[in-house]
């Protein structure tokens, strides 16, 4: 028994340090718990190292490239301009590194113990951590949160090798923009890389199985974005079936069937597989511990993020719902606060915003028009084109619109969909509005500064009330 007494013990061990895990760990420390956070890779998880943050750095570069192409409008005439992806990627890595160090600092500040290694459940209240060299250490904790995230889905007909066939990770590591790139899957990740590579001069082709790109967004948004990308010269195939990828020395020969059933065979240098993500729920000792997962491998949890095994919780991508960093963080906070007995908070899954950072940007929250109708709401839809907003015209970005779906009876903001400049920032106003259960009238009555893009929100609200001033 003497050996046992040396086992290090915590109030809480969080397995995984992504935006779910590290936030949960810090919040728990704030609440006075003795916390450890186990991470097999870099602190910050996919989001910070090979996901949200570095892609946003790249997209900022891409926007600048496109702005420069229009430089003459602003009197910027540069001869022999070239666009090189390598420095942009380097900058992107630097941004990720900076953020990564930030988490290490926050852990230190909050006295969260960082344990490097692969963590797995090892019996009740025990977590075994396998370090890089294979050394295993067991820790004990009253509560264990699984926050191991997700990874790109790997299709058998499109095996990711990160060389010719990339996941988002491979797409983040390229130093040179290739001549051609096929992107399979037109969700947020696919569309963001389409934007980056197209901006740096790559011929991009998109193949999407569903009948529209950004299929989770409102149909108007998908339609607008498809037109916008086609105008840029991106080939977009929807209702298309990807069939085969034959890798050869100079690239990949890819075959797919388009909506009409016609087979296309194209040669591209690289293929990006962006067909969704699967949970990292294997190898964690879940089965042995009796933790229930669903048929897709997501851990089943209740509103307090509890699994069926007492003392074991799951948050973030591995626990399903929307696979989004901000959802994961909120689940982490909810989970920890409820462990600490602080309130009965829950995560409002109906009010999680979606953001796609391609250009024009796309953001939404709440129901699409189709969903609102299907739910039986009597709705009024307001659609405000950016061309009506002075600030957007001055900015030179008038592509897109603000679309607000309003319940006629109570004027609830059922859904908001923005395509256009700073859409991903502006959506937050609708998130707050919906969270506070504001009605559309409140949005309109609140005085928005002029001239700003935020007027798109108030004017959009007027449009949804059938009385816009500027259109």
């Amino acid at each position: 028994m003497a050996g046992k007494s040396s086992v290090e013990r915590f109030d809480l061990i969080v397995v995984g340090s992504g935006p779910g895990g590290y936030v949960a760990a810090i919040r728990a420390a704030q609440l006075g718990m003795n916390v450890a956070c186990v991470e097999a890779d870099k602190l910050g998880g996919v989001c910070l190292n090979i996901g949200c943050i570095p892609t946003k750095a790249l997209l900022t570069s891409a926007l600048l490239v496109n702005e420069m192409k229009e430089g003459a409008r602003h009197g910027i005439v540069a001869k022999d301009v070239s666009f090189d992806l390598a420095p942009a990627q380097k900058r992107s890595r630097a941004v990720a590194d900076q953020m990564n160090k930030g988490i290490a600092f926050l852990f230190k500040k909050n006295k969260v113990t960082h344990i490097q290694g692969f963590g797995r459940l090892e019996g009740k209240g025990r977590v075994e951590v396998e370090a890089q060299g294979g050394k295993k250490t067991v820790y004990e904790a009253s509560h264990v949160i699984i926050a191991t995230g997700s990874r790109p889905r790997d299709l058998p007909i499109l095996k990711i090798d990160e060389d010719r066939i990339w996941s988002s990770t491979g797409a983040l590591m390229r130093e040179k923009a290739p001549a051609s790139l096929l992107i399979v899957g037109a969700g947020a990740i696919g569309m963001e890389f389409a934007d980056v590579y197209d901006s740096y001069g790559t011929k991009v082709t998109i193949v999407e199985m569903l009948d529209r790109i950004l299929p989770l967004e409102d149909a108007d948004v998908s339609k607008f974005m498809e037109r916008s990308f086609k105008k840029r010269g991106v080939d977009v195939y929807t209702s298309a079936r990807f069939e085969n990828a034959a890798v050869h020395d100079d690239g990949v020969r890819a075959t797919f069937k388009d909506a009409k059933g016609e087979t296309h065979e194209i040669d591209v240098e690289y293929v990006l597989s962006a067909v969704g993500r699967v949970p990292n729920s294997e190898g964690l000792g879940l089965e042995k511990a009796g933790v229930q997962t669903d048929d897709r491998g997501f851990i089943v949890v209740d509103a307090a993020m509890r699994t069926n095994v007492p003392g074991v919780y799951a948050i973030g991508d591995v626990a399903g719902h929307q696979l989004l960093a901000h959802k994961a963080s909120h689940e982490g906070i909810t989970c920890v606060e409820r462990i600490a007995g602080k309130g009965e908070g829950t995560v409002d899954y109906g009010n999680v915003p979606n953001c796609t950072y391609c250009h024009p940007e796309v953001a939404s929250v709440g129901l699409t028009e189709e969903q609102a109708r299907a739910k039986g709401f009597d709705i009024e839809v307001g659609k405000l084109p950016w061309v009506a907003i002075g600030r957007a015209v001055a900015l030179g970005h008038t592509d897109g619109f603000v679309k607000i779906i309003r319940d006629k009876k109570y004027s609830e903001i059922l859904g908001a969909h923005i395509v256009g400049p700073s859409a991903t920032e502006l959506i937050a106003e609708f998130v707050v509005g919906r969270h506070l259960e504001s009605t559309v009238e409140e949005l309109e009555r609140a005085i928005h500064p002029h001239p700003t893009l935020s007027e798109g929100v108030s004017e959009g609200a007027l449009a949804a009330l059938g009385r816009p001033i500027h259109i």
Binding site: E412, E437, S438, T439, E441, E442
Partner: protein
């Protein structure tokens, strides 16, 4: 030392109290036992005394405000003590008075209406624990959902919740908010709607304000309303009516009053009736009883509730052990109780504990009526006036002084035959008062 002044349960059935008048004001010195304020309970206006000493530092409940029993309504402390925590606690629970007024003000559209009669005494009912168990004080910082809350003196509700509430006819003041700080949100309205909380559906037509006056409902009137509804709905009432020849009672009254003349006392017909009822109930204990779900409680002694009309409604002070008291004593007690009832000065034990009640509207010219049982009693006698009535006696029409009385019975306790036997005894006693002595 900090002493929190709570709204106390000043009557056994009191659930909330309305502050009529503060006798002490902020800054006044307070000694233990000093009268702090007058509180209107569900039955009477009572004095609230200090349970600590120091200075009345903070008055939380303004005059006219209503809060549930248990709420902190003021804070007594030494001059330099930090009372912020105690005050905050009060704010947390339900700073009722202000809240109630603010609520009324918010619902009444024009601002002036808030100044008027309709707003002043509107009271927020705590939808929580206290309601069920009358006398139990409610801990002000309890975990029960707070009533629509109020720190800033306004109902916190989301705009969407307000619209829903208006449309569905749900009263925001009666809903506990589940949002941060007790804010009422959509799900609360939906839950309330499902639970059936809130006002009845909207009327199709609303009269203009000039066509009516909203009279505030006093604590007493609220209690009456509640108790009457409680009585009529779950109690299976039935009614028995009998005519009594009161000739002998009138004679007896004249005799008795002649004897009492030197003491400057008088008895009424009703006093004699009460004595007879007490005597008859002693012979029929099955009518001097209460329903208790799994048992019927029969009382040995007769404690008679006597309905007394007062300004604001009615109250039934109790003549304890009426069967042991003489008519003159009953008369004295009734007069004294009735007079204090009209001044709202009855003590709680003076209007509780009755086993049977009598309501007499004869003095109003009422011929006959039925009364609603005062729970948990099982019977009440509704008595009309004594009237000259033509009756047939021995084949001849003659004029007699007749009185009609109707007994309301709780059928769970009293069956028709039992009630009838009691009434027959009572009638016999009234028609021959000597029988009361037997």
């Amino acid at each position: 030392m900090i002493t929190k002044v709570h709204m106390e349960a000043l009557s056994p059935t009191m659930e909330e109290g309305q502050l009529v008048k503060w006798h002490k004001h902020e800054g006044d010195g307070v000694a233990n036992g000093d009268v702090l304020a007058e509180i209107e309970t569900d039955k009477a206006t009572m004095e609230l005394v200090a349970r600590g000493e120091g200075i009345l530092r903070k008055v939380i409940l303004p005059e006219g405000g209503t809060v549930p029993v248990g709420n902190v309504i003021a804070v007594i402390a030494d001059a330099d003590e930090d009372i912020s925590a105690a005050v905050a606690e009060a704010g947390d629970g339900a700073a009722g008075g202000e809240a109630a007024q603010a609520k009324a003000a918010e619902t009444a559209a024009p601002a002036e209406a808030a100044e008027g009669k309709s707003a002043g005494r509107g009271a927020a009912k705590a939808p929580s624990a206290g309601q069920a168990s009358g006398a139990q004080p409610v801990a002000s910082s309890g975990s029960a959902p707070a009533p629509a809350s109020t720190d800033g003196g306004r109902v916190k509700a989301s705009p969407l919740a307000r619209r829903l509430a208006e449309d569905l006819g749900v009263d925001l003041a009666r809903i506990a908010g589940s949002g941060p700080g007790g804010r009422i949100v959509k799900r609360d309205i939906e839950a309330a709607r499902e639970a059936g909380v809130g006002a009845p559906a909207r009327a199709a037509w609303t009269p203009d304000e000039s066509e009516y006056e909203d009279v505030p409902v006093s604590q007493l009137r609220k209690t009456i309303a509640k108790r009457l509804v409680e009585s009529l709905s779950p109690i299976p009432h039935f009614f028995l009516t009998v005519d009594v020849d009161m000739g002998r009672v009138l004679e007896a009254r004249a005799t008795i009053n002649a004897m009492l003349e030197e003491r400057a006392e008088k008895v009424s017909i009703n006093d004699i009736l009460l004595k007879a009822v007490a005597a008859a109930l002693r012979k029929h204990p099955d009518c001097n009883a209460q329903w208790h779900g799994d048992h019927v409680r029969r009382f040995n002694g007769v404690h008679l509730g006597v309905a007394v009309a007062i300004d604001d409604g009615l109250i039934t002070p109790v003549v304890k052990n009426a069967h042991l008291k003489g008519i003159a004593q009953i008369a004295r007690e009734v007069r004294e109780l009735a007079s204090r009832a009209r001044d709202k000065k009855l003590l709680p034990d003076e209007y509780t504990g009755s086993t049977f009640s009598v309501s007499n509207l004869g003095m109003f010219g009422i011929h006959e009526f039925t009364a609603i049982i005062n729970p948990p009693e099982a019977g009440i006698l509704a008595v009309g006036g004594v009237e000259d009535t033509p009756v047939v006696v021995d084949g001849e029409v003659v004029v007699r002084q007749r009185m009609r009385m109707t007994m309301s019975c709780d059928h769970r306790v009293i069956d028709g035959a039992q009630g009838s036997r009691f009434l027959a005894t009572l009638k016999a006693m009234l028609e021959e008062p000597a029988a009361i002595l037997v």
